[in-house]
Every structure is written in C-alpha cells, then in structure tokens.
C-alpha cells in the first residue's frame, strides 16, 4: 500500500507558513517569472472577492483593494518541501518527492489497520508545521495520488471502484484528453472506466491509456526514494524590515517550535543551532550555538538564543532570518545516587553566557595556568563540568596547596621600599606606611629571554608590624606589592 500526501496550493502555503495570520485574508501568490506576472494561487477570501487564478495582480487589486500580493519564494518552498519530507520520513523510510508539495510513502511493513492512523498523524504533524495537507491511501502510487487530490482530508481506497463517482476532472487531464472526454460526454470516472480497453488507445491516445490504467489500478511503479535533509532549517525574508527584538523573538520561537516538533517525531535532539541574520544593508550576522546537553526542549533552545540576542545590537534593520539545527541522537542519562555532574547543563550554559555578558567573556570560566613561570599567567576557558569524569571516582590529595594563599593585587601596586643590608625594612604607599619585620627572599625568577619577552624579578615575602604578610617584587629597580597573604 502507498500513501500520497498532497499540500494543496503549495506555493501559497509555503509563503503563509511565515505569515499565518494572513490565512483568512485575501492573499494571492504571483509568479514573477510570467509575462505579465499572473496570479497563481489564492486564498478562499480572495476567491470570494471574485479573483481567479490567471488574472494579473492589477486585475486582482481592482476587484479587491485589500488584496495582499505575495511573490513566490523558492526559499520558502524549499523549506516547506524539506519539512514535508522530514515529517514523512518519520512514518516510513521509503519516501518519494513526487512533486512540489507532493510526497508518496511506501507503507510496506505497517499493518493495514495502522495505515489511516499513520496518515492522520502525518497530517496533524504537517498542521503543526503550518501546512494543511490531504492524504490518499491506495494499492498503487498513482491511485494514492489520485485519492489524495480528492481527499477530505483522507481518502482510503479499498478498491479502485471507490473513485468511480468522482468527475473526470479529478484526473487533472491535459487539454487534449479533457476535450476528447467532453466531446464524448464522459463526465464521471465510472463512465471512463466502463469503456472497453481495446478502444482506449485509439480514442484517447497515450495519456488516456496511462490514466485509464491508473484509475483501474492496473499500473504501478517503483518509488524514486529520497533521503530527507539532515539539517533542520527554517528561514524567512521579512516583508518589512525589523528594528525591534520582539518580532524577531516571536519568529525565532515559531522556528524552534517547528524544528523541535520535527525532531521529536524523528527521536532526535539539537546538537547545535546556527543563527543567521540578514541586514537591510546587505551584510549578514552569523553565530553558532552549541548545545551542551543535546535537547529539543523549546524553552531551553529559545532561552539560549534569547540570552544572546538581548545584548545584541544590530547596525541595520533586519531583513531576513535563518535558523538551522544540527540534529543528533537524543541521549537519555540516568543520574546516579551520588551524581556530582551538572543537573541541567543547558541551564548552566545560559548562566555562563549571562555571567560573560556581565563581567566579560575573559573574566568568567575555568582558570588554566599558562605554560610559563611568569607570575600570575593564566587564562580562563569555558567550563566543561558536564563532561567531567563520571561520579564515584573520588580523587585523593589536597590539590597541591601549601602555605597561606596569596590575595593578588591586579595590577601590582607600586610602592616605596627602603632597604638595609639589601633587605626591605620599610614599606610605604598611598596613605599607608609601615615598618617591616621578618622577611624572606630574595627569590629570583626570570624567563622567556629567548623570544624577546624576557622578564626578571626578585620577590620578597615580608611581615609588616601589624602582623600582615605581603609579597613584594622588584622589577627594573622598582618595587611593587604583588599581594597580601590571606
């Protein structure tokens, strides 16, 4: 058995996916390629206003001044076609991209009782993708497509005769065949099927034979199987340039909901999001958002984008938006009783992004010491706590700490140090002066003389009269307080 899925008015639906509020209004799709451009597809409201396919947009506007004219968007149609295939792939691995907005599924392997249920599920899922679809189920791909075109919204053909009450226009015949059928007075498929097979070729030609064999269920073919795209994308060009964050977030949330819905049906999660914003001035802004713990939770993914965009400043109005999700297998993790890893890595990732926005990206993270003996040489790297060693592997040792810790002054504070017998005996700086007691040093260090960034210093550990311990350094003849021991 085969199931054909048809999205009627595909070009119109592909555009209205991004403007669902216009479904009830008079909207037409115009093909820019025509000379003159003519209305190709239209909404019910436009049809009620007296507009018909084939008119020019000027004729349409004359009949309905409120008419909204949209041009075909290959990008929107590609996204809608991809969404159709990705949804269909969740029902059957054997799918064919039969045409624009038309797909055919091989239902082999599904029990007959589940055929209708699968079609209903697929139509519901396409509905969540803002597309209205119809489905036909039949023994051959041709019959399934014929059934889908005439379904409301599902037509399950148990035998070809179930179609016989339909008008012959349901075959979508070519002009020549349609004219012949009209001249012969054949109005119903029953009358077409009742014709003796011997005369079909002589009267209706090659197309007639193919249609007759299709309606009789006598022709079948192999599906040209396709693989749905691996990247889940949504994109749109805005009719009016966007200058505020709210409409951008509204559209992004809708994108994420659609992508998450398709991923959920395929049992996948988002490993990374890629956002691309097109500006009216022509330039693009692109950014990738790796998801620390792959998920398809809409709130988590949206928060990830929101956290970034709330501090994002656009140099120009925004004209287009593109969001792509790189999928991966959803990982289910069983937390242990003595779990010590992060409970919600994505939440932590958000917090880290907020911290970076607050204090600066180079001032929040995991400290990593540089491979040098230069004092206070380190860098901060993004933490990877969620990828840390599994729980239950406690490590022995105190981390190597010894003695009192130094509380550094960054940068070191210049000071005046008086020495006697080459040892510091008094310390003074702004609003502070103290005699020094015990001292330890000098500790001579130097390095990087080989690459032109040579440094050299002498360090002292000194005790002030009030009992505080300081670290002093002498560089190029100048004294600095490096910090206080705490």
């Amino acid at each position: 058995m085969y199931c054909a899925i048809v999205i009627p008015g595909f070009h119109l639906q592909a555009s209205l996916r991004y403007e669902p509020g216009l479904r009830e209004r008079a909207v037409v799709i115009v093909d820019e390629g025509g000379k003159p451009p003519r209305i190709e597809q239209l909404t019910r409201a436009a049809r009620r206003a007296g507009i018909r396919a084939g008119m020019t947009s000027t004729q349409g506007l004359a009949r309905c001044p409120e008419l909204l004219v949209r041009y075909r968007s290959p990008e929107h149609e590609r996204m809608a076609g991809d969404a159709l295939l990705q949804c269909a792939a969740c029902v059957s691995p054997g799918i064919e991209a039969t045409g624009e907005g038309v797909g055919t599924l091989d239902l082999k392997g599904l029990p007959p009782a589940a055929h209708r249920q699968a079609a209903e599920g697929l139509i519901r899922q396409l509905g969540r993708q803002e597309m209205v679809a119809k489905a036909g189920i039949a023994a051959t791909p041709g019959l399934a497509l014929l059934a889908a075109r005439n379904a409301r919204p599902i037509l399950h053909l148990m035998r070809p005769a179930d179609l016989h009450e339909l008008p012959v226009s349901a075959l979508a015949p070519g002009p020549e065949l349609a004219g012949t059928l009209r001249r012969l007075g054949i109005r119903r498929l029953r009358e077409f099927c009742d014709l003796p097979p011997e005369g079909i070729a002589a009267r209706f030609g090659e197309e007639g034979v193919a249609q007759w064999r299709c309606v009789m269920g006598k022709s079948t073919r192999l599906l040209r199987l396709v693989t749905p795209p691996e990247t889940y994308e949504e994109a749109t060009d805005f009719e009016n340039d966007i200058e505020l964050l709210e409409p951008l977030l509204f559209m992004l949330r809708r994108f994420i909901e659609r992508i998450a819905d398709r991923l959920a049906a395929a049992y996948l999660a988002v490993a990374a999001l890629e956002l691309r914003i097109g500006f009216a001035a022509g330039a693009d802004y692109a950014r990738a958002f790796p998801v620390p713990s792959p998920t398809r939770d809409v709130e988590t993914l949206f928060r990830m984008l929101f956290t970034h965009l709330e501090s994002f400043q656009s140099p120009h109005p925004i004209r287009s938006l593109h969001l792509a999700a790189r999928p991966c297998k959803a990982v289910k993790e069983q937390l242990g009783l003595f779990e010590t890893t992060l409970r919600d890595p994505n939440q932590f990732h958000q917090t880290l992004a907020r911290l970076s926005a607050l204090v600066g990206a180079d001032r929040a993270g995991v400290p990593v010491r540089d491979n040098t003996f230069r004092p206070d040489a380190f860098r901060l790297e993004p933490p990877a706590f969620h990828a840390a060693a599994p729980p239950g592997q406690a490590r022995k040792g105190s981390g190597g700490a010894r003695g009192l810790a130094l509380r550094r002054f960054r940068p070191p504070r210049p000071a005046h140090v008086f020495t006697a017998e080459q040892r510091p005996v008094s310390l003074s700086m702004e609003a502070f002066s103290a005699p020094l007691g015990e001292s330890s040093g000098p500790w001579l260090t130097s390095g990087e003389w080989w690459d032109g960034q040579a440094w050299e210093r002498a360090e002292w550990e000194v005790e002030s009269a009030d009992g505080r311990l300081y670290r002093l350094s002498q560089q190029d003849g100048r004294w600095y307080i490096e910090g206080i021991y705490d």
Binding site: R343, V359, G483
Partner: protein, 212 residues
Amino acid sequence: MNSIIQLRQLLAERFPAAAPRHGLFFPTGVAPLDAVLGGGLWKGTLTELSTDGAGCLTVLNAVICACAAERRPVAIIDGGDGFDPQPLDAETLAHLLWVRCRTLAQFLKAADLVLRDGNLPIVLLDLRGSARGELKRIPGATWYRLQRIVAQSAVACLITTPWFMVSSAHYRVRMEGAFRTHSLDMPVETLFAQMDFQLVRRHGLTGTAAAP
C-alpha cells in the same frame, strides 16, 4: 529536588536521632571548621566566615580542593579579583568556575545568577578583596534575597567578609590566627590547626541542619 530537601529537613527536625547526617552537607576540607559547623557547609544555607587577620582565602582554597577531590564543581565569585590560581593544580582548577568581578554591583549580580542557577553545589563568595567603603553600602535586603535563593535550593554558600555583615547568614564563624613568614612553607593542615574557629551564630535552623 527542593521538596526532597524540605522533607529531609522536616524529618530531621522531628526525629533528630534517626536523621541521617551524611548527604546534607559538604565537608570543607578544613577539619576545625567542619567541627564547628557540624560536618561542613550545609546545603541550603549561607555560612559567613570572617576574620580581622589572614586565612580566609586559604580556607577557600581548601574548600576548592575538597570539592575537586570529590569531582564536584564549585564556583568562586571574586569580589576584588584577588584569587590566585597558581598554587592549585590543573585537575583541581578544572572543577572551578572563577568569576572575576570589577565592581561590587557585578559581584552581587554574579552571585545572584550563580545561586539561582543551582547547578553548582557549592558557591564561594569572596568579599575580602573589595573596598571597605563599597561593602558598607550593600543594602541589608540583598543578603536576605540571597538567603531566600539558597534556602530554596541544594546549594551551600560560603561568604568570606572582612567583618560580619551578612545579616541573614545561617552560620557565622569567626576565625583567628597569627602567621609569620615561616608559615608560608607549612602544610595547610598545620596552618588550619593553628587557626581558631568560633561559631558565633546558628540562626533560624533547627534539627540536623542546626546541630553541630
């Protein structure tokens, strides 16, 4: 998670003898401090550690080492940007989130973010490097807000201050110790043994969480 903690605290309050003590606190790695706190830093509490002298940052380093030994992530919000990672080894540092604040306003916002996040079981707030004049201007309500955040989570928060200022702290510990230059070469365990930790407040807690 919160309801489980509340249930445990309720059971501990009703049946103090039967209440399990393990799992409600994190040992600090400083034996005398653990002794006065009744095991360590209690989950869902604010602990304030203050001294006129030295030793607070050394205690924080010990807490970081203890967390790393258990492979438990820990955050330090550094109010004065004075933390020095040099003495700690790379494996210990790998478990540490260090937030270097420039101003006190940044410190308070960062503390709020990390505590609300709730992913890190131990959060260390270091205010001893901040300017004293700025510290005096922190509104008292700030500490109550942080205390409410901590109380609703499983996070243990240790705040080091130059003087007692955290009005909502569940535990207040005064630390005293005198050090000389030769102390800089001593093992930290010896230094901690020389320090005097005094519990000066045990506030608003009952049952297991309050009983050292």
